[in-house]
Structures are given as C-alpha cells and as structure tokens.
C-alpha cells in the first residue's frame, strides 16, 4: 500500500513536471485558492453560526425579560385591585349595614379590560358581594373550589390559580370564561363581629394569552408560562397539549432556576431560557429548537458555498491571467530557444516579461550573437583555408605536362629546330611567370588570357597542331580582374578529352565579352561533347578520379571563383554529345588595380 502511494506520488510529480509552467502555476494557485476559500468559508460560517446563536439567545432573553416585566406589571395591577378592594372597601364596611357591590363595581369598571369579576364570599361560601352583578349558580359549592381552598390554607398570602373555567354565575348566553383566580383570605365585619371571608379577583385569561401571543409572534422559538409546579398556564399549543397531541417538558422546566439550559426532549436538542415572574413564582420559559437555528443556517450555508464558488471562479480567472503574464514570456523565450535548437541562429530572441525573464532573454540573445559571430569567423576561416588549399592546388603544374614539354624541347634541340625550341622555352617561361604572378591570386583578364595563349602554344607544339585555336576577346574586358589560372584547366580538359582524337579538325575558341555588367569568358570546343548527367557531375562531384590532365578539376575552378566572388559567379557548362562543349566563366566586373 505504502509503495502504491509512493508510486502514485512519483507518477503525479512526474506528470506535474511534464506540464507547462502556466498549467503548473494555474493549478498550484487554484488549489491553494480553493484550500484558502474552504478555510475562510468554514471560518466565516462557524463565526456566523456562533454569533447567530448568541444573537438569537440574547434576543430571546430580552424578549422574556420584557415578558416578565409585563407579567409583573399585570400581576401587580391585579394585586393592587385586590389590595384596594380589601383595604379600602371590605375592611371599612360593615356587611350588616352596607352592600359591597357599589364600591366593588367602581373598582371593576376601572379595570374591566383585565378582570372578569370581583367576588367576596363568606367563610361559609355565601356571597358577600360581587361585580358585575350576577346570579350565582344553584347548588354551587365554592368551598370545594381550588381558589377558595388555597385562600383558606395560607391566609396571609395572595394565591394565583392555574387557568380554569369560572364556575360561579349563571349565564343565559352559554358564555363561559377562562380565568386565573387571585384569591386571598379577608376579614369581614358584620354587626361589629369579624369573620373570615375570601376575596376573589378573576383575571381574564385572554389578557395573559394576548400578551404571550404577542411575544410568540416575534423571535425564534416559542415562549410558554408555567406555575411553580410546572402546570401550564399558557402555551402556544395549549389545546394540543390538553388533547394529548403534543408534549412539553414543563415539569422539568419548573425545576430550572433562572438562566439558560440545553436539554434534549423527544430526541430534539433545545435551548431553554427560564425567567421567574415576581410575586407568583410562575416561570416564563423560552424554547428554541436547535433545528430552528440550522434552518437559518441552511440558507447561509448555501450562500457561503455560492460566494466561495464564485470567488473561486474569479480566482481561477485571475490565476489564469497572472499565470499567463508570468508564463507567456517564459514560453516565448522557450520558443526562441527551440528555434535555436533547430539551428536557426538568425531568429530574434524574445526579450520581455519580468526583469528576470528580460535578463535571461538578453543573456541568451548575447550568447547567440556571440555564437553567430564565432560561427561566421569559423566559416570565414574555413573559406580562407579552402581558398588557400585550392590556390595551392591550382598552383601545381601537372608534372606530365612539364615532362612532356621539356621532352618536346629536347626533341626539337636534337633535331636542330632551335627556333621552335626557343619559342617553346619562352612560352613555358611566360607560362610560369604568369602562374606565379609574384604570389598574387588576382590578376588581370589580359594576363589570364595571355597565360592561356602560352599554354595553348606549348600544347599545340606537343599535339602537332591537331587542333586550331581562336581567341575572340573584347579588349575592354582586359582591364578587369580575375583569379588566376581559371582558363588553363578548362583548356587542359578540352585538349585531353576533346582534341586528342580530333586529328587536325579540332577547334577551340576562347571568347571574352561583357554582358549585363558581368564578364563572360567562354571556352568552346567541337569535341565529343558530354551527356547531361556527365555535365552535372563536373561541377558537383569533386571526388571524381581524373584520368588525365593536371588533376585540377573544373569544380576547383568553379569553387575558387565562388569563394572569391560569391555564389552568383562560377562556371556554367553546356554540352551536347558529338557537338562539343561550351564552358562559360562568369565573373564580376571588377577593375584590376594591380593585384592590391
């Protein structure tokens, strides 16, 4: 497994290295960007979740604090009603002489929005006073009712009941009121005698209901109200709870002190805030399901993912631009180097991009220039070397030619043909003089033509006038330059290959003329001629073994002319089998200045 991972890693690194620099930069930056975006998104999301939770909890705390204040105000006002009723009305009244109803009614009228009725009962459960005035139910036994019992159990306290249906008065309209009863034991005076009674203020339950409905219409979660035993006084789903269709963790909440709690109820995590209402021991409980927090987060999660995705796309876009800005000059430089690899030294090396790439480009460009210079120098050196070699070769006289010539001279002297011998020696001397030309390679066309004439003079004696020679040289070309010894090798070829078999009918014509600012010297013979293939070989194949002549091939002449005067010049051969051969020597028109 380890080895497999290692192999994968190596494979990955290798394939990564094979990719272009732009690809590598883009991918690397994109991966880093994705990782960073991921971290930032997670951090932002976590921060959002934390802050949202704490904001919701804080908001809910404020909400139940407000609810607690409102409840306390409401409860206080109810207690005030009870106190006023007791201390201002009941305590001062003698029931045998006066009726409580009038004063009760005044207090009721001032508070009837929140109060259903105010009633006073004697210890025996008889009605001592009530407002609004109503008829008590027949067979009513208030002594069994919870509020009555509570008031008589702890007589010094005010008692708040849980919500219940008022069971006191007849109502022909079938109306029943849900009330919260505030009861207390009171001292009644009748004919100077005091006895205990119970004062009941039935608070309208709908006031509490409205208060909590208002609270529940804002914020997250819900708020309910319980008494100190955990019995529900208000719950937004009260009817469902009464019908056993919904459960609440109210009994546990009753045991909580004021503060925040996290609890699990029916497999749901809940954040619970508890606040006790003063005077009553009731508790306001706010419940927020953790799933309600996450409902808010879902959208935020989607939002964060979208923002991260968009940012990532934009970063990819920026990465592409940046990587192309960085990589483009490198790639262009690399293309220049590839061109160099292909041998194109004349290519312009790219110089651009950042400072480092520019520096690299300049350095490569300098190196290429140096290389080009070195190569030019090398070529020139090689050319010079070649020239020297060719010149040295050209300077050599075929030993056979010299031997035969000298043999002919000996033969002439022995046969008493002294004048001819003198003429031949003179020609030979002149031939050598021009051949040497004081070591100069460039001579005038006049000298070159003279050299050719001397050579032909000697050869004509040797070949006993087997061929005739004609010179048609325009005099105006004599003044121009040529390299030496270019006509003689051609004549030598013409004699050896064309004239030997001619037996007096051979003709060699040497023409010299100027055409289109160039000089042409044509050597024309009427020998056997050559095929096209042979003609082509003459100027291309310098390894051809020559059977005859001085050993200096036409190709040498051709190369020497090109080395001195350029590729536009040299030899051009036209030949037809059995027709003869024309060798054109093409030279530039350069005035001869004495070989300087």
């Amino acid at each position: 497994m380890k080895q497999r991972i290692k192999n994968y890693l190596i494979h990955f690194i290798k394939s990564y290295q094979k990719k272009s620099i732009q690809f590598n930069i883009s991918i690397s930056f994109s991966i880093i960007a994705a990782i960073c975006m991921g971290f930032i998104s997670i951090a932002l999301y976590t921060r959002y979740v934390d802050s949202t939770e704490s904001i919701i909890i804080e908001d809910n705390k404020k909400l139940i604090n407000q609810a607690s204040m409102n409840m306390e105000t409401y409860i206080r006002s109810m207690m005030r009603i009870s106190d006023t009723m007791y201390y201002s009305v009941i305590k001062n009244a003698d029931l045998s002489q006066e009726n409580l109803n009038r004063d009760m009614n005044l207090i009721y009228e001032a508070n009837k929005d929140n109060v259903i009725s105010i009633v006073c009962f004697t210890e025996q459960g008889d009605l001592a006073g009530a407002t609004p005035v109503s008829t008590l139910k027949e067979d009513l036994n208030v002594k069994n009712q919870e509020w009555f019992v509570s008031a008589n159990t702890t007589i010094e306290n005010l008692h708040f009941s849980t919500p219940h249906v008022q069971n006191l008065f007849k109502d022909s309209n079938y109306r029943y009121y849900w009330v919260v009863s505030l009861s207390r034991a009171v001292e009644l005076t009748s004919a100077g005698k005091t006895s205990r009674g119970v004062l009941l203020v039935d608070m309208d339950y709908s006031s509490i209901q409205q208060l909590f409905e208002k609270i529940n219409s804002t914020g997250v979660g819900y708020t309910y109200l319980i008494n100190r035993n955990g019995e529900i006084i208000y719950h937004p789903r009260q009817e469902l709870i009464y019908s056993n269709l919904y459960q609440e963790n109210n009994l546990k909440a009753a045991k909580y002190e004021d503060g925040n709690y996290v609890e699990k109820f029916h497999n749901q995590d809940r954040e619970v805030i508890v606040k006790t209402v003063g005077y009553t021991g009731w508790k306001i409980v706010n419940v927020t399901l953790t799933s309600e927090f996450s409902m808010n987060y879902e959208q935020m999660r989607y939002f964060v993912i979208m923002i991260a995705a968009i940012s990532f796309l934009l970063l990819i876009c920026v990465n592409l631009v940046i990587s192309s800005i960085i990589a483009n000059p490198i790639m262009q430089l690399e293309r220049s180097v590839k061109g160099l690899e292909n041998g194109n030294l004349d290519l312009d090396i790219y110089i651009g991009g950042s400072y480092e790439i520019q520096h690299l480009g300049r350095t490569i460009s300098y190196a290429v220039a140096q290389m080009r210079k070195l190569m030019d120098d090398m070529v020139k050196e090689q050319e010079a070397k070649r020239k020297n070699e060719l010149d040295a070769l050209q300077s050599q006289i075929n030993p056979h030619f010299l031997y035969n010539t000298l043999d002919s001279i000996v033969w002439m002297v022995e046969s008493g043909r002294y004048e001819e011998a003198v003429s031949m020696v003179t020609s030979l001397a002149s031939l050598f003089r021009i051949s040497i030309s004081k070591g100069k390679n460039i001579i005038s066309i006049q000298d070159e033509v003279a050299h050719a004439k001397y050579y032909l003079d000697i050869q004509k004696v040797r070949y006993k006038n087997k061929f005739s020679v004609e010179f048609q040289i325009e005099e105006e070309i004599y003044q121009f330059s040529t390299i030496k010894l270019i006509i003689q090798p051609i004549l030598e070829n013409a004699i050896y290959y064309a004239m030997e078999s001619m037996d007096g009918e051979g003709e060699i014509c040497i023409k010299g003329y100027r055409m289109k600012d160039d000089i042409y010297i044509d050597i024309i013979d009427n020998g056997l001629g050559m095929s096209k293939e042979q003609v082509e070989l003459l100027l291309t194949n310098d390894r051809r073994v020559r059977k005859k002549g001085s050993g200096i091939g036409l190709i040498n002449v051709h190369q020497r002319i090109q080395l001195y005067f350029g590729k536009n010049y040299g030899l051009l051969i036209e030949s037809e089998p059995d027709e003869g051969t024309i060798v054109h020597i093409h030279l530039p028109q350069v005035c001869y200045d004495g070989g300087k």
Binding site: H164, Y174, Y205, S206, S243, M306, L313, S324, N328
Partner: protein, 326 residues
C-alpha cells in the same frame, strides 16, 4: 505568432466562460432568495360536514384551525344548505373535486347513500371519513370514536342512575348515519340486557317541529328517560323540556356550548362527548402526510368521555369542553 494568437483566444474564452458561470451562480443565488418563500408546497383540503349549524362543529374547527397553522393547508370548510340531504352533500363533494381540491375530509350525512359518491371521490383524491369507524367501505380511511362503545358506556352510565325496569325513549332520528345507528344499537342492547324497556321516538313527515314532537311525546308517554344520540337531537330535547320544567332524565351525546350549558344547569343528566378537536387536527395531519409523503391513509380512533354535572369542571373535562377562545 499564430500559436500566441490561439493562446490569447483561449484565454478570452476561459475568462468569458468564468464570467458566465459567475453570472449564472449569482442568478441562482438571487433565485434561491426568491424561492425561499415559495419552496413549501401548500395543500388544498376541503372539509365537508353535514347539517346547517356551523356551531355544532366548533370543536372540530378548532382542531382543524390548529392543523392549518401547523401544516401548509389551504382550507375550505363546507357546511350544507339543508339538513341531512345526501344528494346535496354528494353534489358538494363533486363540486369540491372539480374545483381542484387535493384531499377531502367528510362527515357523511347518509352513510349508505354516500357510499358510491365517496368511492368515486377516492379514485381522484384522498378521502377520510369523519365521525365514522364503521365497516362502510373497508378501504376508506376513517377517523372517529368507537360509536358502539359510546352507546355501550352511555347505557351503563344510565343503568347506574336508573336501575332496572325503567322505560327509556331513544330519539330515533338520523339513523341513516352509521355512527348514530351504531350508538343506538349498542345502547339499546345493553339497556335491554339491564331489564329496561326501550322505545323509539321517530318523527314522521308532516309531524310538528322536532322539539314540539319530543315535548308531545314526553307528555303523552310515560318514560323515565330520553336519550338523544347526536347534538342536533339533544338540543331538540333540551328545547322541548327547557321552558316547562321536566320530570324525565335526559341523556345524550354531543358537545355544543348549549348542551354543555344545560349539563351545567342540570337539565342534561349525563353527556358523552367526543374529542372533536383531536378529530379535526388528526384528520388534517393524516391527509397532509398522505399528500406530502405519499404515505397510506390510516384509521384513527378518537377518544370520548362521559361527563355529568358533578365532574364537568374537573381539569380534563373543562379543557376539552370549553375551548380557550380569546
């Protein structure tokens, strides 16, 4: 040079594609905000009940309204123009289906005559029968109390008070409703078993109004108790005995404000009431679950209680009989 051009073009295309994706993403983001409000599908549910007295269904409506606030329901609560007209209810059923309701809860006015119409409706939309747990249409989902048991327990409660050898009149009306006929059957069986005599009071066509008919029947017949098996008939009995006082004991099944009031006053001796709040809430819950999750409809039995004047105000009874209304 050509290569550079291609490279540049490629870059432009990539940037354009990126921008397009960005635009699409932003649009999706915007859309999601718009969809946020719309993403919860709402279900149109019709509740068709018999009778013209909407108050009779107050507790059921409370339960349905709670379900409406808990579930995405668009409710159409339909009562009838005339009492006990099966044809009219059949037409209402058809009208609701044609108007595009997605589910129906129906309290049938005549179990047998409505059977075919309900079967037809079931093929188009999910249907649940209210108040009925009888055998009508084995495959139809029902929600309601065990009506036979109600009759049985009421008879036992009456037996405790009346002893044996009493003559008991049953208001024999609306027997076409399976729920009432079941209640009556069991009630009569047990009362007879206890050694009581049971008589049926049936109002014929052309007779007096129901309350006058009952009043006359009480005057003309010597009975110890009168039993009404639904709200309508119980209210008629109350009306019959209210003004002149009465010597007969009254028992019944129902839970309208009027009935509860007369129980509180002592006119009605013992009352059986069905938790119709639960029936309303659970019927909606079952239908929504079916529409939302495609779960099968199922039968749901609803609890009932027997209450008399003494225990009317105990915690459980007052919570169920006196709905908390602002």
């Amino acid at each position: 040079m050509e290569e550079n051009k291609n490279f540049g073009k490629r870059k432009v295309i990539i940037i354009l594609i990126t921008i397009c994706i960005g635009v699409i993403a932003f649009s999706a983001l915007g859309m999601s905000n718009c969809l946020e409000v719309k993403n919860e599908q709402r279900y149109r549910i019709s509740v068709i009940v018999y009778g013209t007295n909407e108050e009779r269904w107050n507790n059921l409506k409370e339960g349905i309204n709670q379900a409406v606030s808990d579930y995405p329901i668009d409710l159409n609560f339909v009562t009838m123009y005339e009492d006990s007209e099966a044809e009219a209810q059949e037409l209402l059923l058809q009208r609701e289906i044609e108007s595009g309701t997605q589910a129906i809860a129906i309290a049938s006015s005549d179990s047998q005559r409505m059977e075919q119409a309900i079967e037809d409706a079931k093929r188009k939309v999910p249907v649940i029968l209210l108040e009925d747990t009888t055998n009508m249409g084995e495959n139809t989902a029902k929600i309601g109390p065990d009506n036979g048991k109600i009759g049985e327990e009421l008879a036992q409660a009456m037996g405790k008070e009346l002893g044996t050898g009493s003559t008991i009149a049953i208001i024999y009306e609306n027997m076409e409703r399976e729920s009432i006929s079941q209640r009556s059957k069991e009630l009569e069986r047990i009362l007879t078993q206890m050694g009581n005599k049971v008589v049926h009071w049936t109002r014929r066509a052309g007779d007096f109004s129901p309350s006058v008919f009952i009043k006359k029947s009480i005057e003309e017949n010597s009975v110890d108790a009168v039993v009404a098996l639904d709200d309508y008939n119980l209210e008629n009995v109350i009306d019959a005995v209210d003004k002149d006082g009465h010597s007969v004991k009254i028992y019944g099944i129902g839970n309208t404000e009027k009935i509860v009031h007369y129980l509180d006053e002592g006119t009605v001796d013992t009352l059986v009431f069905v938790n119709e709040y639960n029936m309303g809430y659970l019927s909606m819950k079952i239908l929504v679950e079916n529409l939302r999750n495609n779960t099968a409809l199922y039968n749901q039995e609803i609890k009932y209680s027997i209450v008399n004047r003494k225990d009317l105000y105990n915690k459980d009874n007052q919570r169920l009989l006196f709905p908390i209304v602002e």
